[in-house]
Symmetry: C2
Subunit: 223 residues, 2 copies
Amino acid sequence: MALSTKRTDRRTEALSKERIVEAAIHILDAEGERALTFRALATRLATGSGAIYWHVADKQALLAAATDHILASVMAEVAERSTLNHDAIRTVALGMFDAIEAHPWIGAQLSGDPWQQGLLRILEGIGRQVQALGVPESALFNATTALLNCILGVAAQHAAAERLPRGTERSVYLAAIAERWTQLDLAEYPFVHHLAAQLPGHDDREQFLAGVNLVLAGIESIR
Amino acid sequence: MALSTKRTDRRTEALSKERIVEAAIHILDAEGERALTFRALATRLATGSGAIYWHVADKQALLAAATDHILASVMAEVAERSTLNHDAIRTVALGMFDAIEAHPWIGAQLSGDPWQQGLLRILEGIGRQVQALGVPESALFNATTALLNCILGVAAQHAAAERLPRGTERSVYLAAIAERWTQLDLAEYPFVHHLAAQLPGHDDREQFLAGVNLVLAGIESIR
DNA sequence: CGCGAGAATGGAATGTTGTTCCAGCGGCTC
DNA sequence: GAGCCGCTGGAACAACATTCCATTCTCGCG
């Protein structure tokens, strides 16, 4: 009986790539990117690091799998609210924005490896709509990657914020940046000074959407 | 005399932040990002790692300083060919593109920390021209960061290529990506398949410029 | 001229990390 | 039951960023 119980336990809690990825995501979300080590992961899964390596090639693959897991659910959710063209693009883009905001470590992953599996889902989702918009063949690639750049941009921004000590308030962070900007030489950096003033109280989501709209307007003009 | 000679030598080859940064850039350019370790740096400077730490806070600061060093020279060079508005923006942008292509490790640095000193130079350079373009106050920030996103996008792409084993041919790299794309499920990724066909023989610089032009066109439309 | 304080140096030591290695266990097939 | 194989857990390893410290060098002051 003891044996059978143990076996059941084993089966129930059997190690698998999926279970590993879920544990990794939990650590990443709860304690940040730096806290994800194979030791921490092994502890949380009550096993050794060697066992994890049997399921996952290396840390990069683990992070890629975790990112893909999140992005897949983003696209799945977005796919339900089926809209068309412009609105569809905005919906996908905002879905990405929210995902990156909720899991900032994705930002580092995406900007570090933009052609990884996960982003292809987004490329596909956006590209189809751009195509449906009637963009000429020759400009398809450029228009789609321009939209992707908006996403990579916000990803980079959140990746930077992610590296901060845990629990830093967003407003404090923005204030610190504005502070640094205003300390620059006014004669040399007049424009940056100008921007610093409106940096606090700045809405990321709005900026992101404005960027997307700008690109969409540009696409309209070449259609 | 021996003493004086030794002292002179010391003076000539005295360690300084500048000399350290130059050595770091040399290693980064010659052997890639992964090769830049404090050991390698100490060896190249014929000193110990402790001495380096006296001049540089940590590795992040070193990379930031190296990046800033390059970006400063980019802006200096661009400033000479003084043009206006659209052309000035394109000139700055292309200068950045060329810099990232020549020193791909900058890509990783920029996308990892988009608000670092170095990028502010670019922000300033582009922002002024956007302002001169007559963009309304409320859209200034958004328009400028949208242009920056194009640069961050190409930075991320080169950062990914940088991580590859040394000496990988660009065409081979592109072919490998196209190969991966065509192996995706055609039903699920029709658009990616479509793009894969035109991925080899694809001109990065042109794509970059097209993205910038798209954003510029969008800016025109809200002016 | 000497001498002392602080700047600067070089290399050893420390603590983590990703990764590899291996001895063994459990279930499966003959 | 014997033997193989997928899988496990944890020890061992190499590399790294960073810290520490004993020593040397420089320069200004008495």
